[in-house]
């Protein structure tokens, strides 16, 4: 090719880079043949420990995934396509997004679902920003029972956009302990000088508790605010969906729909809203239409919300989203079916109750008394040390809550534990046995020193 360009060296193609700006060659390792590379990667992967009996959830959930899901995802026609800019040769991707939108709409009970967002945190932030655009107000309330990462991301986005974010505390003790403080919420909503755009509440909460969503929604609407429910989609198989308790927007993390935890991503940010908010929703939307010969077909639509059309006036700057993960979630839902999905939720609930009972039997009890689905916090003296010690015994004892939420004194020395259908009864028994052992050991000062 070089000859046909009349050039002697490929360097001539870079003559447009001013000499002063040309860089020295890259100081990187030499190329690696595939066999060598695979050895290196397998070695790194083996340095992670994924063989522990794990009771860790805290926003990312392990679920059984039928092999068909990953086998279909490995088809190059899916993963090596770009955004469906030429719909005539992208009907596969487009229909799969339409179906994803429909599946999530069914699950959440909402009308409109975006084609995906980066993750649950970004989805929540985008949902909160929507409430400001839709109401013309600039103050959003978020419950402190929302995942701490999501709240941190909300802070970052709101600080950037120059909007106000206020956190509603959780109840410190009593029968409502751990739940959003509704009395405080009502007070904040009542401040007429600072009208609230939106209220963000989770279901289940970061602490695994079932929040009074209907009440939250009622209060928000009474204050003229929109109500954003942060939900976990597997739980929606059995929990009342946002559409049923009047949420205007549902946001959440779709990872639990069979997507592997893979240390944080790629995940699936879900944003769903009512028809009334369709022009405010950020991200791509795919609609059903027809071709010129009347065949049913699918296309990206209502693009006037998006950055490539509206530029600085767009609803969001999002461009690349998480389409392949939306497909993964759809595949998983199709493979499991509504019965399988309910079974998964119920198996988790059953296993979690087993865990609660097994721990209670050795004196490790729940922090809160409210209802939970499959995740709950327990009080453990010296939680961080116990957690560390258990790793050596092959148990990942959930999350040391204080590591993630150092600013919630009522949760000091607690562990957040989760069970799903991938946890076995044997693991539950082993966990109870080992934690009892560790607590006993740590209670003996000499043992700790050893």
């Amino acid at each position: 090719m070089l000859e046909s360009l009349g050039m002697a060296s490929v360097d001539e193609l870079f003559a447009d880079i001013p000499p002063a700006l040309r860089s020295s060659p890259l100081k990187l390792d030499p190329p690696e043949p595939e066999q060598v590379l695979m050895g290196r990667l397998a070695g790194l992967a083996a340095r992670n420990r994924v063989d522990l009996a794990s009771f860790l959830g805290a926003g990312a959930y392990r679920h059984f995934s039928p092999p068909l899901v990953d086998q279909i995802l490995l088809r190059g026609e899916w993963y090596t396509a770009y955004t469906p800019y030429q719909p005539e040769v992208s009907q596969g991707t487009l229909q799969s997004i339409y179906e994803y939108e429909s599946l999530i709409a069914e699950l959440t009970g909402m009308d409109v679902v975006s084609a995906s967002h980066y993750d649950g945190a970004a989805a929540t932030a985008e949902a909160a920003l929507m409430t400001c655009r839709a109401t013309g107000r600039d103050r959003v309330l978020v419950s402190r029972s929302v995942h701490p990462h999501y709240r941190a991301v909300l802070e970052t986005y709101f600080d950037g956009a120059g909007l106000d974010l206020e956190q509603i505390p959780i109840v410190a003790d009593g029968p409502e302990a751990g739940l959003t403080d509704l009395a405080e919420l009502e007070r904040r909503l009542a401040d007429a000088s600072q009208p609230v755009a939106g209220l963000v509440m989770p279901q289940p909460s970061f602490y695994g508790l079932l929040e009074p969503m209907a009440e939250g929604g009622r209060l928000a609407h009474a204050g003229g605010a929109l109500f954003v429910a942060v939900v976990e989609p597997v739980s929606l198989a059995v929990l009342a969906p946002p559409g049923a308790y009047g949420a205007d927007i549902a946001a959440g993390e779709g990872q639990s729909l069979g997507i592997p935890p893979q240390y944080g991503g790629p995940y699936l940010g879900i944003v769903a809203c009512t028809d009334a908010l369709v022009r405010q929703i950020p991200g791509r939307l795919v609609g059903m239409t027809t071709d010129v010969e009347g065949r049913r077909a699918y296309v990206m639509t209502l693009q006037a919300r998006e950055q490539h059309i509206r530029r600085e006036k767009a609803a969001s700057n999002i461009c690349t989203n998480q389409t392949l993960l939306a497909l993964a979630a759809s595949l998983w839902l199709a493979a499991m079916g509504p019965h399988g999905l309910r079974d998964v939720a119920a198996l988790g609930a059953a296993r979690a109750k087993e865990l609660e009972d097994a721990l209670a039997a050795i004196g490790v009890t729940r922090v809160h008394s409210g209802a939970y689905l499959n995740e709950f916090a327990v009080r453990v003296p010296n939680a961080a040390a116990v957690h560390r010690e258990l790793l050596g015994r092959g148990v990942l004892a959930g999350l040391v809550v204080a590591d993630a939420v150092p600013d919630e004194p009522s949760l000091a020395d607690t562990l957040l534990l989760c069970a799903t259908e991938v946890n076995t009864s044997e693991e539950v028994v082993a966990f109870a046995r080992e934690i009892a052992g560790v607590i006993a050991t740590l209670a003996t000062p000499e043992a700790t020193a050893a």
Partner: protein, 500 residues
């Protein structure tokens, strides 16, 4: 249905029949949910499709065949850089040690991934010529937001209130949209007549209110911004910072290091530069590289290497200057594993070759089209990894537009280039062949474009009504927007009793 016969598929909802399923998990105890308070229970089951495994698999296999993809053919989508996605990367990301690692797992059990992330940061530091890298952003636009927020924080930390972001008119839409999300104002600067940066135009707009300039280099016209040195000086003179949109980094690997040249911050699109698959729209990953000025403001948590060569994540609140979190957890690690595999595969010398080959392919293709005399080539000099062709003249003489040519290309088995972007060129086609395409493919594509240009004269109707061999013909996009149908409405589900 694929090899012959009808190709379109009903929705998966239409395949649903009550009771159909394949047993995937055991049945739970019947009373498992009894302890849930009534007010929290779902009343009506979601009307999700009830299908068995054969129905589900066939549906998605057949749907997939309706897609054009890099794995099936040439995909010269300019700016999007449809690179080959090496198959070993898919293997790597699925290693259980990587795929099954929980994002909240303690550092002690995540040393493999933490090491990989840390090494990847070092590689990107070398490539960008910067001082530090965050791998967290989930895509290019997310990286832009991260970068601009850091710039804002930088100015704030110096007690300065700067509100403006200067952006050339050829910029990608995410640049101005990002400025808005960061609470800043976009000021658009027209390009110079040669398509390059109008440094004088920038100078006129630069001032004490300028927070940053956002420059795509090479530009979205596929041109290296040769006056970038001057501009960066002017920017820094007024105390503003320079953001580089690194979407086109693949054209300059080992030839130009933005950090060395004076940019303060840039993002990298792993799906454009480092071969991570785009998945029909995403995921991506948008690492951001910064120089020393911005390092303190990097989002948290960073990946730290301890003196004993172990790795750990920053703790909550450990670095108060940080702009904070920009996402949950640590990053799209599954994507980053693939990028790491690619970088290790090619190493320093391989990356330089990739850039050479990509630029060579683009120039070869550009010359082939220029030689045809049928397309306008607005910027006839050397291009980088992509170039602009235009159907402006064709449109004037035949009425056939770039859109029609794009659709007609589909009938030749090629994906169309990016069209009508950048907005600054009439009837634009932004063509990016990438480094892995053979000369035979490039020639076949050029031949197809030439044939279509001739057909525009000889048989314009055929071009204007293309595609003719795709699964569907042109779509009613206006109708789709006028009466949006954004979801299937299945019949409300009822709880059917558990079969057992």
């Amino acid at each position: 249905m694929s090899a012959s016969g009808p190709r379109l598929q009903p929705t998966i909802f239409e395949l649903s029949k009550p009771g159909r399923h394949s047993d995937k998990v055991p049945h739970p105890p019947k009373d498992a949910l009894n302890r849930l308070p009534a007010e929290h229970r779902r009343e009506h089951a979601a009307a999700l499709p009830e299908v068995n495994e054969p129905d589900a698999v066939r549906h998605y296999v057949n749907l997939s065949q309706l897609n054009h993809a890099v794995d099936t053919g040439f995909y010269p989508l300019g700016s999007c850089t449809m690179k080959w996605n090496p198959k070993v990367n898919e293997w790597a990301a699925r290693l259980p040690g990587f795929a099954q690692l929980h994002p909240m797992a303690p550092d002690a059990v995540a040393q493999g991934t933490l090491q990989l992330l840390w090494e990847l940061e070092q590689i990107l530091i070398e490539i960008s010529g910067m001082q530090a890298v965050t791998l967290q952003p989930a895509a290019g636009a997310h990286g832009e937001l991260t970068g601009i927020l850091m710039i804002r924080e930088y100015h704030r930390s110096r007690g300065e209130d700067r509100t403006d972001v200067l952006v050339p008119d050829s910029a990608h839409g995410t640049n101005p949209a990002t400025a808005t999300m960061a609470g800043l104002k976009t000021i658009t600067i027209k390009a110079a007549t040669d398509g390059g940066l109008d440094v004088e135009g920038f100078r006129a707009a630069l001032g004490p209110k300028t927070a940053a300039v956002m420059i795509t280099n090479p530009s979205t016209l596929g041109l290296f911004e040769s006056r970038i040195g001057e501009l960066l000086e002017a920017v820094h003179e007024v105390g503003a910072l320079a953001y580089m949109d690194g979407a086109n980094l693949n054209a300059i690997l080992g030839r130009f290091k933005p950090g060395e040249a004076g940019f303060d911050v840039m993002h990298i699109n792993t799906h454009k530069t480092f071969s991570t698959p785009h998945g029909g729209g995403g995921p991506g990953a948008g690492p951001v590289a910064v120089n020393a000025k911005l390092e303190p403001f990097l989002p948290s948590p960073r990946v730290l290497r301890e003196p004993d060569a172990t790795f750990r994540l920053e703790r909550v609140g450990e670095r108060p200057a940080s702009i904070g979190r920009i996402r949950s957890f640590v990053g799209s690690t599954g994507v980053l594993v693939r990028a790491y595999a690619y970088l290790r595969t090619h190493g320093g010398s391989g990356l330089a070759e990739i850039t050479d080959d990509a630029v060579l392919a683009a120039n070869y293709l550009k010359d082939r089209l220029a030689d045809s005399g049928l397309f306008d080539i607005p910027f006839p000099g050397v291009c980088k990894h992509e170039f602009i062709a235009s159907a402006s003249t064709i449109k004037k003489t035949t009425g056939v537009r770039t859109l029609d040519i794009a659709k007609r290309l589909l009938d030749h088995g090629f994906h169309a280039p990016t069209v009508y972007f950048p907005l600054t060129v009439d009837e634009a086609m932004l063509i990016e062949p990438t480094e892995t395409e053979s000369i035979e493919t490039l020639d076949a594509f050029a031949d197809a474009l030439v044939e279509i240009a001739r057909e525009a004269t000889s048989d314009p109707e055929t071009v204007k009504t293309a595609p003719h061999s795709a699964p569907v013909k042109r779509l009613d996009e206006a109708g789709a927007a006028r009466n949006p149908n954004l979801r299937w409405r299945a019949e409300a589900g009822e709880w059917t009793p558990c079969p057992d």
